[in-house]
Point group: C2
Chain length 206, copies 2
Amino acid sequence: MFIFYNDVYVMNRKEIQEQRMKDYFIQATKEILKGEGIQALSVRSIAEKAGYSFATLYNYFKDVKELIFLCVKDFQQECQEYVEDKTKDLQRGEKKIIATAISYAEYFVQYPSVFEIFFIEKLPNSTENAKISELISSFLEKLCQEEFQYCIDKKSFTDEEIREIVKELNCLITGILLLYLNRNYPSDYGDFAKNLKSQIEKTMKK
Amino acid sequence: MFIFYNDVYVMNRKEIQEQRMKDYFIQATKEILKGEGIQALSVRSIAEKAGYSFATLYNYFKDVKELIFLCVKDFQQECQEYVEDKTKDLQRGEKKIIATAISYAEYFVQYPSVFEIFFIEKLPNSTENAKISELISSFLEKLCQEEFQYCIDKKSFTDEEIREIVKELNCLITGILLLYLNRNYPSDYGDFAKNLKSQIEKTMKK
DNA sequence: TTCAAAATATGAACAATGTTCATATTTTAT
DNA sequence: ATAAAATATGAACATTGTTCATATTTTGAA
């Protein structure tokens, strides 16, 4: 169909350029989400920040949802770095798990629009999106995995206990965040933080 | 300013008529939310179902959000009836609290758009909306209040324990629902129901 | 270097959204 | 019956995501 000097080379060049273009749009999307927030996010605002027309966006993404959810991995990376920095000096095991869970929640309080993308924004049904959902739902577990394994090895928890705890922590923190960010419950940040900590600690105590 | 035959009578008539009009729109909104769902909800679809022009809606509500959140009380009433019917024959106390919490969650699984209105749809900041947030955030507590009091009287729980449990149940169930409804986690309804039950039971065991 | 073809970027246009407003219609009270 | 007040309404607007024909740029061979 196409004639190339060197198939592989040309393909790579094309892909590199295409990825670069995608990255401009992804970067713009992330900046808007972290800055002005999701209510300022639109096809046109993204394209403007990226330095292209809104129509150009559609040459690289099938729709704006695809673009938005391509940010998930980057935000997870950033969140992971935030959490690791906050917990790096703590003693291993239970203490570190608690601190990890708290930092994880703090990240979303800092970037409510990232919480929206992760948990609220609707994902159209597709096998690709099922993977993204999975990535999001199991993210806290991933953050804690190493410490959980440490606890299992140390026999302070059984494998089964850990499985239950991580599920509960995940649901609990998601709910605490949703109520705080969307329903102003509790209305005071201090109360929120206190409640977050005490509920996480209680979950770990079984 | 205005001249009336009988001040009180005329005011009442006007108010009755106005409330009737509001109810037509509220009823239409509830029907769409429970039927086609929130993605089918628009100013125009509401007005069509109510039998009026979309512009008429703005003579009775300052915006569509006001109308949407006026449905909250009705949905809470309906949810309460659903829960009471599901739990009416159960023995009082802990068992009934657990069943109440499960039924509460089931109601939202049955009507995901009601969950959206309750927990996801953004409320513009106002003192009126703060009350609605409060109503939503404390709804599960209200549903369980009688049984909690029964437990306290029976001395199976202290006042302080109950306060902590209700807060935890509320956050936990909100999170379980959000992950299931929005992130398909877990993907199987049976797993969801099992997880819901086991986490509620664990929360009650302290 | 030149030029045709392929690739890419873009604005016009569309449908759907919430909202406002001037005006048409209906209701009210005398 | 009629003037005035109340109410209902469609036209219009701004904003949204998306599509598409076309303008522009890039590419590769002569």
